[in-house]
Amino acid sequence: MTQTITRELPALESNRELIIPPGQERALANGLTVIVIERHSVPLVEVRLRVPFERAELDPSFVAKASLLSQTLFSGTATMSTGDIAAALQTVGGALSASVDSDRLLVSGNGLAEGLPAILTVLADVLTGATYPAGEVETERARLIDGIQVAQSQPSHLVRVAMHRRIYGQHPYSMQTPAIADVTPLGTGDLAELHVARVGPAGATLIIVGDVDAPATLDLVETTLGGWAGPAVRESLPPVPPFATGPVVLANRPGSVQTSMRLALPAVVRTHPDHAALQLANLVFGGYFSSRWVENIREDKGYTYSPHSVIEHSAAGSAVILGADVATAVTAPALLETWYELGRLATTPPAEDELEQARQYALGSLLLGMSTQAGLAGLASTYAGQGLRLDFLAEHAARLAAASRDDVGRVAATYLAPTRAATVLLGDAEVVGESLTALSTVERTSA
């Protein structure tokens, strides 16, 4: 280089204000809560319908039925076939699809804003009149089974299953994907029965975000979905059990060229006074790229491509889930560095500058997350599922702004101590087993 000029990093302008777009809300007589948020950036609309789908006990057959129901909800009504439904939606630039987990059935979609009446009409037809035609059920049942087989060949899926088994025991959360044997016997009758029992408006939330007029949209929804009736069946989930710590679980996947490493640590719900500080502690530890863990095991040591640490919130409890896929040869050293970074934060509060960096990231993420129609819809639906509204984010931002080094150090010691971690590894046990025994007792299982 011919010249060396030292250039100063320009200062940031003052922080942008967190403006939470106001939502208009209406509780329909049938129990459905409707929230409409206007954002006129593009002439589109986003739709999220969240129907509670908890099961109070571990019920493999229910998991299978719920999965197949989510794949066949749009397979037909008295007057429309699968193709008719898809074409009606596509005509207004739209599409809808359903997914299910241990907490909820979620119908998601979007389309041209002017097509919202058509989209809601299809949605209402399906909610009140899905017929689960035998032929389509047979088709989707086979596809679901194929899909389960593909999932079972993926390390990310296998290690998640092993972790859920480890931390959730007999809690309903321990089974998120159905067993093929439980899918095989299902038919129209099972799905129709489950629909009647559980696909109802009581406790459900419909979020609409986009280039719409909020009051008119509330009226439109009331007209279109006011006739959706259904049972008020709500099951209550038991709280998740304390996570089993103890030996490292090593699930064998012969020939694996990487080890999929996952650790689960306890966390708190979004409304808990510790949540903001825990979010910051997790960021400092490994929750974003500029964290201790990522800088250590990726940017310094090159053990892995994409380590991540995320706080997952579910209805029955929250968890911090760490994940990294590391080269087989460095499995034990990568686990050691992970424990080291957890332990370091749990015993020494973060420095002021790393806390400030994490704080700015958390606050900025709120702005970024609300800057699109799809982002707003996703946030509004997720928060509604926990009985919250987007204005909760202002409260949360204030807590993020106020959290001190001591607060973050305290929650790190409480929640992120390595002694509290449940650790599951999926990899070639013949290759990695021996070196792991230098660090911990190891419990071997099959994948």
Binding site: T6, S14, T82, A95, V150, E299, Q360
Partner: protein, 410 residues
């Protein structure tokens, strides 16, 4: 490129360099992508790790990605950090810190990226890494863009310096901003930070053209982890840049065939024949039809139920494309397909970062960023006749085919 939009307090900043996988030297497969990693390892005034910390410490996110014809670097941030992002991009445009230590570290990281995305999972690299060597003969078009471990490990610091000198010239880059800013002020900030980046001209872009296939090329390989058989078929399409009007009908055709449960191949293969468990279709190997140059292809890929054969499915695909070619489309079929495509384009545009990226790439490849905003209109002008004509070209003798044998079937 400046695209202001004050509807949310965020900005997207993108720098796109006109170099991608096709420009890698022989013996250096994967180098464009490896070099992308090196652009994050410190630069003229920034230590290693500083880029990440400055972006995230301002509340933003960052990334980069390597495509066949370009490499992009980008940030999305609260708008109070716009100037910081410009500083960071200008600094690495002056030159990354290319050290042996950083190179070795990022070779290790990229190898783990390849293991997690390709080697340790079923269907890794299928079909984007598997089809090009079947369809093409020349190194630029045919080689593995993720790279072989041998080639990656052979990379040297002088290789990286040469690559930067040749391709990362200011004249070979487009900077694009979208979101919450005042255009006059933003222009001043751009001038302040980029104005003294040394001017270097863009290198000549080689001609990557190859002739179309005249006879089918087919291959198969066993994926030891895959539980289901699969195939991908591809046909060459018109030049996306020189013959955009001739190219767009193929982009529409891919959606007519595979977008949603009302589409031709889902109706036929999934719902009627039950001969596939999933099918998808798109134009360009990386699924970015408006970000690619010639030569490229229309691709169809499908996964089949365990133990079933590919040949009858290919016959059914042929019958369906022939049916489109001969009988045309149903009333409303073209309009609804294009309506859904418009939604996808508008939804992308709602993210300021995607808007910035699309304007930058469109400017670079087409010399007119405005085309990015006209895509819904241009797609709406595609006629049924054009879609029929496009379907008529999907003949077996122009096809490149890759079959995946399910080595992991239980």
């Amino acid at each position: 490129m400046l695209a202001p939009d004050r509807s949310a307090p965020v900005v997207g900043v993108a720098v796109v360099y006109d170099v991608g996988i096709r420009s890698e030297p022989q013996g250096r497969t994967g180098f464009a992508h490896l070099f992308e990693h090196l652009m994050f390892q410190g630069s003229a005034n920034l230590e290693k790790l500083a880029h990440f910390r400055y972006v995230q410490g301002a509340g933003g996110t960052f990334n980069g990605s390597t495509h066949l014809d370009y490499t992009d670097y980008f940030e999305m941030l609260p708008s109070n950090a716009l100037e910081r992002a410009l500083f960071l991009e200008a600094d690495r445009m002056r030159g990354p810190r290319l050290t042996e230590e950083n190179l070795r570290n990022q070779i290790d990281v990229v190898k783990e990226e390849i293991r997690v995305n390709v080697l340790n999972r079923p269907y890794g690299g299928f079909p984007w890494l598997k089809l090009p060597p079947v369809m093409f003969d020349t190194f630029p078009n045919a080689h593995d863009g993720y790279g072989s471990f041998d080639d990656l490990e052979s990379a040297t610091v002088p290789d990286a310096a040469d690559f930067f000198a040749k391709y990362y010239a200011a004249g070979n880059a487009v900077l694009s901003l979208a979101g919450d800013f005042n255009p006059e002020q933003a222009a001043k900030l751009v001038e302040r930070h980029f104005g003294d980046v040394p001017a270097r001209p863009a290198p000549d872009r080689p001609d990557f053209t190859e002739p179309d296939l005249t006879a089918e090329r087919a291959t198969s390989y066993t994926d030891r982890l895959a539980p289901l058989p699969a195939f991908a078929a591809a046909w060459r399409v018109p030049d996306p840049i020189k013959d955009f009007a001739g190219y767009l009908p193929y982009v529409v055709l891919a959606e007519v065939l595979t977008d949603g449960d009302a589409s031709r191949l889902i109706q036929r293969l999934v719902l009627k024949d039950r001969s596939v468990t999933s099918v998808s279709g798109y134009v360009s190997f990386m699924g970015d039809p408006f970000d690619v140059r010639d030569p490229t292809s229309l691709l169809l890929q499908a996964h089949l139920p365990p133990g079933t054969a590919v040949a009858p499915v290919l016959t059914a695909v042929q019958e369906e494309t022939d049916r489109v070619a001969q009988d045309g489309l149903e009333p409303g079929e073209l309009a609804r397909t294009v309506a859904r495509m418009s939604t996808h384009l508008l939804r992308d545009k709602d993210t300021v970062l995607n808007r910035a990226l699309q304007y930058a790439v469109t400017e670079q490849q087409r010399g007119d960023a405005a085309i990015a905003g006209e895509l819904p209109t241009l797609l709406a002008q595609v006629t049924e006749e054009q879609v029929r004509a496009a379907a008529a070209t999907l003949a077996p003798n122009r096809r490149a085919l890759v079959e995946v044998v399910a080595g992991g079937a239980s």
